[in-house]
């Protein structure tokens, strides 16, 4: 089966300039496990568009690097 890659507006935005490479706070608390580290940069990003906009990632981030938006379809 052919798969396309579709662009999606994701709810969790990570400010890479603030994200700390050694830190995994957001990844550990996400109930849906949608955040991962980019192995090349060591920065967190939202890999899966499965967000409950519940905010622990944003609240646990020690540098304020994360902003959670309401998913576009609900906004």
């Amino acid at each position: 089966m052919a798969l396309t890659s579709q662009r999606v507006d994701v709810p969790v935005i990570v400010d890479e300039s603030k994200c700390l490479e050694k830190c995994v706070a957001c990844i550990e608390v996400c109930p849906l496990d949608v955040l991962v580290k980019n192995p090349e940069t060591g920065k967190a990003y939202m890999k899966y568009d499965e967000c409950w906009f519940c905010l622990p990632c944003e609240q646990e981030c020690p540098t304020g690097a994360i902003t959670v938006q309401i998913p576009f379809l609900l906004r």
Partner: protein, 326 residues
């Protein structure tokens, strides 16, 4: 420095708390929070004293809060006077959960010597302890220059158990600051000094701030004193609907037929809460005169008004002698 049995994983992050790099300290304190290992308590208390970055401090406060170990209470009380709002606020939240009667003396000390932030926060914490021993330490704040402290003190008064009379609080009913008067109006509902009811009546009918008037109505509802009836009748004509609503509620407890005309008029009030609460008050009065007006509100567009009017009608009919039952 720290105990030698410490889990090496924990020890590594504890070590990093002393890194010159802020980023490292942030990661370290965050990781210790997530690991939740109680061996980290002592080093985290160290952070409260030695760390200069307010974010690291705040996370350390949160972490100590999560451990809920009483050894952290005195250092957290010191954080109440921190120059950083985030640290103070987090420490206050933590202490709201952690303080008990055992900490009363420590808190009262801070009330006497702390800065304004600390005093304000301690006044809030005393509401969790409810201990009347705090009263003599709270009273001086009624005369504070700072209206926020006066307001906090008069709110705290309400939470001190067994305090039923407090003459020094009465003067705050005439305070220049509206927030202080609002808080005072609510606190007076819990006091039984002889001057309380006349004071509340005056606030209800004459205060320039409508929230003061509303709060006075709420307190009069609580006190249910028949001496307030004239003021309550007058307040049914208040321009603010919330004042009329809470006055109608007070009239449910202080049933007096002199209120009949204003309550009937209130059945046509613009606000449904007023109509509903007036209907209930009429039910308590048990006067057949109110029946025609209540019959009309059975068609009210608001469900609650219809329900409570019907209940009032039922109550009135039940109280009338059999013969006059239409």
């Amino acid at each position: 420095m720290h105990n030698t049995d410490m889990d090496p994983e924990v020890a590594q992050w504890v070590e990093m708390l002393r890194s010159p790099q802020l980023d490292d300290r942030l990661v370290a304190v965050k990781t210790l929070q997530h690991l939740g290992d109680e061996d980290a308590i002592e080093p985290l208390i160290g952070v409260l004293y030695n760390e200069e970055n307010p974010t690291v401090q705040e996370i350390a406060v949160t972490t100590l809060w999560e451990f809920a170990n009483p050894v952290a209470i005195p250092p957290l009380i010191e954080c109440l006077s921190s120059p950083h709002a985030n640290v103070r606020d987090e420490a206050l939240s933590a202490l709201k959960e952690l303080v008990s009667t055992n900490d009363l003396m420590k808190l009262l000390d801070v009330l006497q010597v702390g800065n304004t932030y600390a005093q304000l926060n301690v006044l809030v914490l005393l509401r969790k302890i409810h201990d009347a021993q705090a009263l003599p330490f709270v009273l001086p704040f009624f005369e504070s220059e700072n209206p926020t402290l006066r307001e906090a003190a008069v709110i705290t008064l309400r939470y001190l158990n067994q305090v039923v009379r407090c003459e020094p609080a009465l003067a705050l009913a005439q305070d220049a600051n509206a927030s202080v008067r609002r808080a005072t109006a609510l606190t007076l509902g819990h006091l039984s000094d002889a001057e309380v009811v006349p004071l509340l009546c005056e606030l209800l009918t004459s205060d320039a701030d409508w929230q003061v008037r509303r709060n006075a109505a709420q307190s009069l509802d609580l006190l249910a004193n028949p001496a307030a009836i004239a003021a309550l009748i007058a307040a049914m004509g208040d321009p603010e609907w919330q004042v009329r609503k809470f006055t109608a509620r007070a009239l449910q407890k202080t049933a007096d037929e002199r209120a009949l005309p204003v309550l009937i008029k209130a059945l046509a009030d613009e606000y449904s809460d007023v109509r509903r609460d007036a209907a209930t008050a009429l039910g308590k009065l048990a006067q057949a005169e109110a029946l025609p007006a209540l019959q009309q509100t059975l068609n009210d567009p608001d469900m609650d008004v219809r329900i409570f009017s019907q209940r009032a009608i039922d109550a009135i009919q039940k109280s009338l002698p059999e013969t006059s039952n239409v």
